[in-house]
Every structure is written in structure tokens, then in C-alpha cells.
């Protein structure tokens, strides 16, 4: 059964965001890392970059394919996880903890309302036929 933590919000492109005040941490879900397979490279944004909700933040490359990483909410990138530059496989092993990808400052926290709750995301993943 794919892991879906209760304290996160989710996107249709299988990103998650953990919010604390106006700061957010972003990564990809357990479902996404399983679909991608072994991740070998992540193209990370620069700290200071701004991004719109659902705009492209970067790219995650697995042996099979390259996949865009989209921003769950609008804001400015305040940090990137340096560990995954040399050890992208950490995303596969720990997609919600050690494998976090970027930190950002949210410009409009109300955008969180359009994201999926854990139970919505669980139903979404089940509708895709695998979980």
C-alpha cells in the first residue's frame, strides 16, 4: 500500500507540500517514486527563483524517463536538498523525509485550498489502478 502521510497536501502530479506558517517543504510522493523507479538525477532550481503554482520547478530523472517536478503553490525557492544532488536515490528510499526536494516561501497560502487532502489523494491514486 502506497504511503500517504496525513500532514501533507498533494497535487495531481504527485508532489506533496508540508506547510509551516508561510514556509513549505516540497517533494514527490511514494507513489511517484515507485512509478519512476531508480532516480539517478535531479535538476534543482536556484535558490531565489520564483515559481507559479503548478509551474515547473525542476526535473527528476530516473533510469526509465525524465519527469517534470511542478510547484504545488506559488512562491520563492529558499533552499534545495543538497544531499539529493549526489544521492538522488534517497528520494526513492525516503520520499517524505530525507528525500525532500525544495523549501519555499509561499506567496499565497490560500492556493493550498485547491490541493488534495490525504484522503482525496488516496482515492486519486486508487483510481489510477495501482496503490
Amino acid at each position: 500500500m502506497t504511503e500517504i502521510p496525513e500532514d501533507l497536501k498533494y497535487t495531481k502530479e504527485h508532489e506533496w507540500v508540508r506547510v509551516s506558517g508561510a514556509e513549505g517543504t516540497v517533494g514527490i510522493t511514494d507513489y511517484a517514486q515507485a512509478q519512476l523507479g531508480d532516480i539517478v538525477y535531479v535538476e534543482l532550481p536556484q535558490v531565489g527563483n520564483s515559481v507559479e503554482q503548478f509551474g515547473t520547478l525542476g526535473v527528476i530523472e530516473s533510469v526509465k524517463a525524465a519527469s517534470d517536478l511542478f510547484a504545488p503553490v506559488s512562491g520563492t525557492v529558499t533552499g534545495v536538498n543538497e544531499i539529493i544532488r549526489d544521492h538522488p536515490e534517497v528520494i526513492n528510499k525516503s520520499p517524505y523525509d530525507e528525500g525532500w526536494i525544495i523549501r519555499m516561501k509561499l506567496s499565497d497560502p490560500s492556493e493550498l485550498d485547491v490541493l488534495m487532502s490525504p484522503s482525496d489523494y488516496k482515492a486519486f491514486v486508487q483510481s489510477l489502478g495501482e496503490s
Binding site: 523507479g37 539517478v40 538525477y41 526535473v59 525524465a66
Partner: protein
Amino acid sequence: MPVQYTSILEEHRAVRQAAGLFDICHMGQIRLSGAGALECIQHVTTNDASQLQVEQAHYSLLCNEKGGVVDDLLVYRLHDTYLIIANASTAEKDFNWIARHCTQHVTLENVSEQYGMLALQGPRSSDILQPKIDIDLSTLAYYRCGHGHIAGISTLISRTGYTGEDGFELICKRDNVVALWHELMRDERLKPQPCGLGARDTLRLEAKMALYGHEIDESINPLEAGLGWVVKFDKPDFIGKDALLAIRNSGVQRTLVGMELMDRAIARTGFPILVDGKEVGIITSGSYSPTLNKNIALGFVPTEHSQPGTIVEVPIRGHLVQARIVPTPFYLRPRVRKR
């Protein structure tokens, strides 16, 4: 065959270090019998099947009149018949091609559905298989085949494979192939890792083995794809011989090369190759190489730029990534000298 059972990297490493088992039942199998079977094979393929001994196989190509590759395949000489193992997606095309070009004294049967095929590959393959089979594997040389029994299942076994490791390909009646799989998996302490399409591709790429539709297709001739060794110009006429002779005489315009990417990004099939800012070639296959811990690729470049050490560029998602042309294969398995 799924893309992966657990992870492509895990499955790939299992084959390089121990053993993996591939379900390759999708492969095409064409049986040729009758007095004209050898003549037929000689006419449609580029390699010289008259050199095959009984229970020996070789890699060969079907070419068209222009010298383009219709398919790559294995030809097995058995006791009374020949067996051709073809790619799954081209098996029917191959059958129709051979049938069209061979009408005398040969019976062709597409037996793909009647048989199943598994590939056991890796340095421990022999350790896993020997206790289970009634023939002496130490006498089965590379590209030789034989008949044996595994758990009572009649099996055609060949010392062949698509990974660059020692290993065996096993053919049995379709009804028995599931039991054959389970038998090979039965010893908990010494069993192969199930491997899927993903690892199949990364393994063959490291060993610089062609994949039809990538390194070879009907618009590519064997000489430019580094497969000149499969073309026996001494053979009497075969389809494509004149065209290939002309190409050999004038020289190939483009050459298939191996490259190491000098970046973490992967160059994928169809990406262009640039030299001095100009698009001059194309990537045919590319992936991460678990054994080398580098990204590698195969592709065509103009022959004058094909020397190892040449630096080329590949645009990947908007920026130019450099790659160095390297000798191939990327990986060669360690050979143990027999005393």
C-alpha cells in the same frame, strides 16, 4: 515481462554479480526444415550458416536489397532443422520476409506460440543450473546448444544471452515454461533475481549489443552499425550483398559510437548530437550505466568525428551537455583463463 520486478538497478547488479532470470517468451521462433532450409537461410541472412556445426548457433541479420537491416536474430543449427530466434515485434515481419524469399524445398513454421523461453544470466548461472539439468554444462561452449531435462521438462539450452555475462537461454514447450521458472527459483539459498525489461536494456547497452529499432533498422546498414563482422562477403549471393559491397568499397558515411556523458543528465533515443555547434548525428540509445556509475549512450556520428576521445554535445532540456566518444563495449566481463 514487466519493466522491473523490484528495481532496475537492483536487477542489473544481480545479473553482473550473481544471476538474473528473464521471461523472454515474447521472442519469435521460426523453424525451418527440408532439404532447402540451409540454402534459404544463406539467401536471406548475412552470416554464413554453412559454417554452423550441429548444435551451434550464431548471430545474424536479415538485410533488404539496399543493405538495410530487416531484423537481427540468432540462427541455431539443430539435428534435422534450423531454428531462428527473432525479436518479438518483428517475428511476423521476418516470417513473411523469409517465406517470400524462400519458396523451394523448405518448410517454414512460426512456432513462437508453441514454445516458451527464459534467459538465466550472470556469473552464478552455471552454479544454479547444473544441479537441475542432466547435461554437463562445462562442455557447453559459448554459442553451442544442446537438449537436456530440467525437472523432467525437455529443454533446448544454449550458452547465449543479451547481457554480456555468462548464461543460458532455455526453450521449452509453452505449457511447461511456468514450471521451468519455478524450478529455477526453487533453491532459496541460490536462486536468480527476476529481471525485467528495464534491466535487460541497461545490461545490453553496457555490453554494446544492438536493439532493433535503435542501433539497427531498415534505414541502417550493418557496416555503419559496427556489425561488419556479421556480414560474410565470401558467401555466394545473399539479399543485400551487392549494396553492402558497394558501401564497403566507398566507406561508411556515419559510424555508431559509444559515448560517456560528462553530466548527470541522460541522453535518450532521438536526441541530436552536435559537433562544433552543428547537428550531425543522433542518439540511438542512452541510459544510466550502473556498472560504470556514469551515463552512457550509443549514437551515429559522421565517420570523420568517430574517433575515441572526440567531444560532442547533446542538447538535454535546453542546455548542451558534453559527451566523450569512448571505445566499446562499455563493459567486458572478466574472463577466467582455463588451465
